[in-house]
Symmetry: C2
Subunit: 181 residues, 2 copies
């Protein structure tokens, strides 16, 4: 069921880098146009040296108000968050901020497609999990579980194949999901 090859492994590349390489593959092959949003920074001071490029000398990281990636695939609005965990048996919900979940709800209410790419680093397995699942898990987290068992992710998610080109073929998993809906 779960397919992977040696080219997807821990070579110092981050999960997000691998996704960005896959996005680049999709873009060049005209399969989809999906980009990572830059890290939001609050810029406080900029220095303008004579004859050279402006330098930001003081800035602070801001919490992103949305998810990591968005774009367009066959006319569909695509929006997703990439998360990874070193946990072996579950995914802790504290990895999500409330505003990310709010953003996912807003996207759904506009009929966008929203999901989470979830990487179990130790197992080297990636699942595409519908955003609606995470919304439900997150909204019930005070009453119910603080983390989601891997078995539950496997039940609700679609396994994402990894390989050489693209490294993380999440559009193939998305096609399966859309086909079964």
């Amino acid at each position: 069921d779960y397919k992977k090859d040696d080219s997807f492994s821990n070579r110092g590349m981050s999960f997000e880098d691998d996704i960005q390489e896959s996005n680049e593959y999709y873009r060049v092959h005209e399969k989809a146009v999906i980009h990572k949003k830059p890290t939001p920074l609050q810029i406080v001071n900029v220095h303008y040296p004579h004859r050279s490029a402006a330098v930001v000398t003081e800035a602070y990281f801001q919490k992103p108000s949305t998810t990591d990636f968005n774009g367009v695939y066959k006319g569909l609005y695509i929006d997703f968050e990439a998360k990874e965990t070193r946990n072996k048996t579950s995914f802790p919900l504290k990895n999500f901020h409330a505003h990310q979940i709010e953003h996912m709800k807003s996207v759904l209410s506009q009929q966008g497609i929203v999901f989470v790419l979830l990487h179990f680093r130790i197992h080297q397995e990636i699942y595409l999990v519908p955003g609606s699942c995470f919304i439900e898990w997150f909204d019930n987290k005070d009453q119910a579980r603080k983390s989601i068992p891997k078995k539950e992710i496997e039940k609700n998610g679609i396994p994402v194949s990894t390989g050489y080109l693209p490294k993380i073929d999440y559009l193939a998993a998305l096609d399966k999901w859309l086909h079964n809906q």
Copy 2:
């Protein structure tokens, strides 16, 4: 034909700020989910002071590889660039980078909706101009014009009403455009 009121004017607010306020209005009223992408910065040095927030102490501005804004509206992928000029009679094409035009082409090939919100600051007029027009103008700029006469913008664009809430009602102009297609 062209409607505006006093609340849209030069009060130190930038055109992009006014668009972001309008996006916030659309989001809260569940009309659309559209965000500005953060300015991309190449972070070179980060300082981690004891007991306080990390400070970026050296970073450089990078050229954005896409447009300013994107999101979802009634299931449609929306992508646009905001531009303004103090020119009275034309819009200089040098305001566009080649990679922005490439991005617009890619979005069109994925059946996304792409346009430019063009602000003539002196006239206080805004037009929603289909991306396909700018692609054509830009691709012919060596053979033809280096700037686009305002009359040509008026002919191809849809006037955007400005007011109190939302300040820049570009979705109303978009509806008109989509309706006439």
